[in-house]
Amino acid sequence: MNELLPQPEHDHFRAKAAASEHPRELIIDLLRAIQEHHGWVPDEGVELTAEILGLSPLQVEEIATFYDKIFRRPVGRKVIHYCDSICCWATGGEQVAAHLQQKLGIGPGETTADGAFTLLPSCCLGACGDAPAMMIELKLYGRLTPEKIDAALEKEKD
């Protein structure tokens, strides 16, 4: 995952930016593409985005640091977002968070020693009817129990 952006995607974004009346609107797509390939967005990713879209690195940085799903620091191979909003809280969300921390041996915001998972609290995931819930990358897991959490971690470990 050292590559910032594969050449075909690089070309795709350059062509799209050249054809767009407002290239800046591609900023989230581009940052997400870099993150998809590199795992997170390093300084070079901010600079590359700025260069492709004709912006200053600062104009990109103020976007990259605003959104909580854009990572400006290294994360594990997969990121776990556990919901700590009201519906999950009301149905055992705190126990889910505690179980995840105990099972992975890390606190919120930390990455496991083997680099497999980063654990992050998240606001409402839009799965309120299936609370308590978490997302591993973009996959949703609902109605969590300790057993379901263990099974999900086992499945997602790579």
Partner: protein, 424 residues
């Protein structure tokens, strides 16, 4: 459970997504055909106004009135933005629609774009809804192939492009002007209003922002008529059906399409199956994290915008989160305030500093370290923030705090007197 009329959810089956064929078999795109072939854009806007449709994203503003401020006849670039940020805790209804029947939204966007005479529409969708975004992209491609989208739609000479904008988190993006900044690729702090988006929106051009469910209702209003839509509601002043997302301590925490004006009692005890484990109902958020609590005394209130405002709350998004009798309302409010404080964009002082201060006060009281003076400080903060923040985020955060101070002040005092949370 009653047999409620199903309009938006008529094609909804567990685990299935209906695409073009299934959608057309049940009358899909007939509203669009009727509008383009037999009506003028103005007639569509007037029909929507007469139907009484109010915004389903939480604010409940009249859709027809909002559209009447839009300069549909003005030449040049104009935009329609569909808000699918859906990040208000307790709200998951738009997701259900996009998983069940994404063409409902696409037809709504096309028809509304035609009524407003715009040629470019954006669907802004939150990070977590990747499968829903893919469903939309497939539906857009199918609509294009079928001639409902693209150039010269249904031989009208009018063209439309729909873009799907995937976001990357943060609740503030649901605020319409922050969302416009998000689409443009600038830092998504909210913009000052006026100028309103109808005058100066995306790239400084006239723009209207509507919720997913609101737009999906439009084709049905055109097909069935304004009177029919209005009469779907249970109460005289209401209009239409509403997607209710049930959550919290109810037996059946699912999403249901129910008539506007349905009493809260019926939602919780009939549709929701009552409170889990035979416990008693204590309180609920009637429409998302920013709506003041309702309690047992409100069980017979009609679930609609004006009726809930009359009892000091709001209909919001109709995401109903119920709490049983063993729930500490100080702890509930602390959880909600933590959410708002963390999601504050930091632009204005009442929100950035005020919400953190309220969070600290509630943490102290909940932990048993509070005093009576701090309860007065909570009231002081509520007064200081209400009406004084830059956008609706902090105003929304005052909803649960207001409910706590108005309905559960005795619980706050009990924490202070006992020096601990009485529910632990």
């Amino acid at each position: 459970m009653n047999d409620y009329p199903q309009i938006l959810f008529k094609n909804r089956r567990p685990g299935e997504t209906v695409f073009l064929d299934g959608f057309r078999q049940t009358g899909g795109y007939q509203g669009l055909e009727k509008a383009i072939r037999a009506m003028t854009p103005l007639e569509v806007r007037e029909t929507v106004k007469r139907s009484g449709l109010r915004g389903r994203g939480g604010a409940g503003f009249s859709t027809g009135l909002k559209w009447s401020f839009f300069p549909a006849d003005q030449p040049g670039d104009k935009y329609l933005v569909c808000n699918c940020d859906e990040m208000e805790p307790g709200t998951y209804k738009d997701r259900q629609l996009l998983m069940a029947d994404p063409h409902q939204l696409i037809e709504g966007v096309i028809l509304s774009a035609w009524a407003l005479q715009v040629s470019e529409a954006y669907i802004f969708i939150r990070y977590a809804y990747e499968q829903e975004a893919r469903n939309l992209e497939r539906a857009i491609a199918e609509a294009k192939d079928a001639g409902y989208l693209g150039t010269d739609i249904l031989d009208s000479g009018w063209s439309l492009r729909i873009h799907v904008h995937r976001s990357a988190g943060r609740y503030i993006l649901g605020e319409e002007t922050a969302q416009l900044n998000g689409i443009e690729g600038v830092r998504p702090n909210p913009r000052s209003k006026p100028p309103f988006p109808a005058v100066k929106g995306l790239w400084g051009r006239p723009t209207t922002v509507n919720n997913v469910e609101t737009l999906a209702d439009v084709p049905h209003i055109i097909t069935g008529g304004a009177e029919w839509f209005k009469n779907l509601a249970r109460n005289g002043d209401g209009a239409g059906t509403k997607l209710f997302g049930l959550s919290g301590h109810m037996e059946r925490t699912e999403c249901f399409e129910l008539p506007v004006g349905i009493p809260l009692r019926e939602v919780i005890f009939d549709v929701g199956g009552g409170i889990r484990g035979g416990r008693e109902f204590k309180a609920c958020l009637p429409g998302g994290a920013s709506t003041p609590y309702l309690t047992r005394e409100h069980l017979d209130v009609a679930m609609d915008f004006d009726t809930l405002e009359a009892v000091g709350s709001r209909f919001g998004t109709a995401g109903v989160t119920a709490f049983d009798n063993d729930t500490c309302m100080v702890a509930v409010t602390l959880n909600l305030i933590r959410f708002f404080a963390r999601e504050s964009c930091g632009w204005c002082t009442p929100c950035r500093d005020g919400l953190s201060f309220i969070q600290w006060l509630l943490e102290e009281i909940e932990a048993g370290r509070g005093n009576m003076e701090q309860i007065e400080m909570l009231k002081h903060q509520r007064r200081n923030i209400t009406g004084r923040s830059f956008c609706a985020l902090a105003e929304g955060a005052m909803g649960p705090l207001d409910g706590l101070l108005r309905l559960f002040e005795d619980e706050l005092e009990d924490h202070v007197r006992k020096g601990r949370c009485p529910f632990q």
